[in-house]
Symmetry: C2
């Protein structure tokens, strides 16, 4: 530990007291745990409870030149967890700033601090604004609403694009100044959390996927509960039929008939959340053969591709959208609609079948459906994350919520593609061999986040206890990311290990972000290296 760090810690201890500053070996090791190939170990962990404390803390950091890395929940799974890009940073854990400042049941918004979790806000919304849903990301009930939105995580209802539903931020800058965006900096402004742009330049985007400030408060819009809700599943049997299906669904998504974030997952991605890796069946040598994949699919009643989404709105609209959906999918996949009622029937039926040793396929199908079903109704759930443990040897059940508890390795590579079948195929054909070459299966999903684009998520799951597998995952990650960039599909988000790969020499975009960084944080003490290139690379 350098002298500067020691001094900073002393100053912080004065501010926070001994109980809210932790430099113990155990805590530092806990925050260093990661699902990435490599983590970083912090010098200390700080637990402020107010924006004022954050302001003082960051001034101390600037004074001593110690890097401060803010986290909200630290649940940035697959994208670096709670780890700073640099070794020896002080972690600013905002988890105790967990007040829900306001829930407005008339205008449908909430204002929260960064420590507020999806589960906490979901429950509060249910209580205090019963006509609204919180749109949740798949990161689980313990994930921070603010932290996830700032890294541009997305949800699944029509409010899935959180950049569009974030409204009015309070931000602490690297020099300790506190700034309010939108109309928030005008005294008693009444539209701060209902009109996002204010007057003058829009600064909110500066504080997403960056290191230019610490968001200490944020408004978020709630989705008004629709009159009707219908979940759908389309099972696509032929692998290549994903392309014509995407093309057939595009007009529906664009015209708003499909208004949720439609999710398209391949067989293995869905399986990975349900079953352990079939080590025995594949003779211990991944990837799985096409034949084995077909068997696994059949056993679980899955398609090569599995499309899920919801139709929401007035009942007549939902009925019409249902008809349009069936028509679009004709000849490509089987459309199944699920309502609350049908889901309960299925569960009841299953209870009857189980003692007779029947209903395994139905059970698996229900298991596959339920997490997405909940997410589409704005309910946080842990299931999508279960896939993180896919390659962990000797996995028991139940799987722990935190993938780090099983040494699960997980990297998400998330290219954005236009909403066109040909782009999906082009991408898959290019990257699947790269996964196979390193002994990994390609677990893939594509989510129609807006009317024109999809976010692909390629899961790279590995066992962190097996050194060769970690090395292979690292190599595979780099190869895939490089290939995606060459093909014109950069990712929408990345783990710290991917950030340097996005920066090409002389790219004026990154130069501009550094100019702004230099103006606001000349010592580069705030989350150094997070998306924006470090300043010392001059």
């Amino acid at each position: 530990m350098t002298q500067d760090t020691t001094r900073a810690i002393e100053a912080w201890r004065t501010i926070l007291g001994a109980s809210r500053l932790d430099t113990t070996e155990a805590t530092r090791a806990r925050y260093a745990r990661t699902t990435s190939p490599r983590g970083t170990r912090p010098c200390a962990v700080l637990y402020p409870v107010s924006a004022d404390e954050v302001r003082t803390i960051i001034q101390v950091a600037a004074c001593h030149g110690v890097v401060l890395y803010p986290i909200s929940g630290g649940h940035n799974w697959g994208y670096g967890d709670a780890c700073a890009p640099t070794e020896g940073a002080a972690i600013l854990d905002l988890g105790r700033m967990n007040r829900i400042i306001e829930i407005n049941p008339t205008l449908g918004y909430a204002v929260v601090e960064p420590g507020v979790t999806q589960g906490q806000l979901h429950d509060a919304v249910r209580r205090e604004a019963p006509g609204f849903w919180l749109d949740c990301s798949a990161a689980g009930p313990e994930a921070s609403v603010v932290g996830n939105a700032l890294d541009r995580g997305f949800g699944h209802t029509p409010y899935g694009d959180h950049v569009r539903t974030t409204c009015g931020m309070e931000v602490v800058l690297a020099d300790g100044r506190l700034v309010r965006t939108g109309f928030g900096h005008f005294t008693d402004a009444r539209a701060t959390h209902v009109y996002p742009y204010g007057v003058g330049p829009i600064l909110d985007g500066l504080f997403m996927q960056s290191n230019l400030g610490i968001v200490t408060r944020m408004g978020i819009w709630l989705y008004p509960e629709p009159e009707a809700f219908r979940f759908f599943h389309i099972g696509v049997n032929r692998d290549s039929d994903v392309a014509p299906l995407v093309d057939a669904l595009r007009p529906l998504r664009m015209k708003g008939l499909l208004n949720s974030a439609v999710h398209i997952g391949n067989d293995l991605r869905v399986l990975s959340s349900m079953v352990a890796y079939p080590w025995e069946a594949c003779g211990g040598t991944p990837p799985l053969s096409p034949e084995l994949r077909r068997v696994l699919r059949r056993e679980s009643g899955l398609g090569a591709w599995n499309v899920t989404g919801s139709l929401t709105g007035p009942a007549a609209q939902v009925r019409g959208a249902g008809r349009a959906l069936r028509k679009a999918a004709k000849g490509l996949g089987k459309v199944t609609f699920v309502t609350d009622l049908r889901l309960r029937w299925g569960q009841r039926l299953l209870k009857g079948l189980k003692p007779l040793g029947l209903g395994t396929v139905l059970a698996r199908q229900l298991e596959a459906l339920e997490p997405n079903y909940g997410l589409l109704k704005g309910e946080p759930c842990t299931a999508p994350l279960a896939g993180a443990h896919w390659r962990v040897r000797d996995m028991g059940k139940p799987r722990p919520e935190d993938p780090r508890d099983t040494h699960a390795g997980l990297l998400w590579i998330s290219p954005v593609v236009p909403l066109c079948g040909e782009d999906v195929l082009r991408l898959l054909q290019a990257v699947e061999p790269l996964f196979h070459a390193e002994g990994f299966d390609l677990l893939a999903t594509f989510t129609m986040l807006n009317e024109r684009a999809m976010v692909g998520i390629l899961n790279l799951a590995f066992d962190r206890r097996i050194k060769e597998e970690v090395t292979a995952a690292d190599r595979c990650y780099r190869a895939v990311l490089k290939r995606l960039l060459a093909l014109g599909y950069p990712p929408y988000r990345t783990a710290p290990c991917g950030m340097p790969l996005l920066r090409e020499e002389g790219d004026t975009f990154w130069e501009l972000t550094r100019d702004i960084k230099r103006a606001l944080d000349p010592k580069d003490i705030l989350a150094r290296g997070r998306y924006i290139p470090p300043l010392d690379q001059d």
Copy 2:
């Protein structure tokens, strides 16, 4: 003219040739014309045709410290027109950079240069992407698509919020560097114009309502033509009924049953686009009495408040929304639906009535409806601007498209209010006396731009030839803006004369914008004083 300016002009002449640099008295006077109380006169007008020329021009400006003020169409009516905030700036008229780079009929977007007008793009979209509409602002067919969007002008279809439909910018910075936002800075990125955020911080907002760069290219999303379209008008007879009506419409807007930008105009605002100011009837002394207003209303078949909007989507949805709308407006106003067919009938009926000396009210009603009807179908039109001439004495017909041709004075004050009736009343009650005190009528509209907020536009129309009226308008403008800020309703946009009023000493928001400005444009040569406070105020 300073020596620096002379030198800069010489250098620019070398770059552009004599034909694309204009320093004549006539041209400078033409660009100095304004509808504001005061304009500013430029030292020269430059007409580049490419981003490369813009880069060289701005480097010259920086070298000689001459302020450069970029305009696209210069049609920023009511908000300062083509005038720079400072005297003697060089106007960079981007009107000749008017190429439509791409129209994508599959993914529904266009990529355009700043000189492309609404009319030009509307026609091209009709030709090349017939299944889509361009969402147009009310600024007329000659207004620039890019310029209007950058100042956050809005349209009226469900794509009315252009911040949400702008995707992928090319920007020239003050030092001549060229930056592409979103994914645009990655080689051959395929999602540049379909996914707006890219990876890393979102910088697009920095270039709206600011002076941090010159946007030389921009992607804009097109609205997919709906299966059904139904225009509606609600006439509200009692003045105060606007409040319960807003509250009754809010749930419909929030749930997407009302998905267009619902427009609520008072009697005078609608009248101002149709008739000349009734100087005689009011005895030459405005404002108009409540009695006279009632007479004028009756003659034109208008309500105290007039709500227009459209229902779009699948036919069943539109029918359902229509029923919901009638239910919501019950007891508050009369709902009339207009379809293409009914509009044609009305026009035909009118033709038959006219020779009989009948149909005046119908004619006025149609006249009042038509412009909004077109805008709701994405058709640019000049009619809304006709109200600019309202207070001009001896106005003939037809009114010229450019309000400066009749010495029309026009200032728009545009507070944002939450979508709540009580806020509308509170605002109106506070500002109407301020208008009356200076001899002006309150012409007001409120537009439901998103699901939670409305942009109010208060028109301050005056005759620029009458000195006392200009002075009164100036005083009124300041008094109203000040009052709105005190009430918590800052404007979403402003003319240069309003900008200093928004800046309070020690407001860290404006400080932050200045920090960024200082980093990117230390000499403050780009559009000095535009929204961001001038740097010399240190």
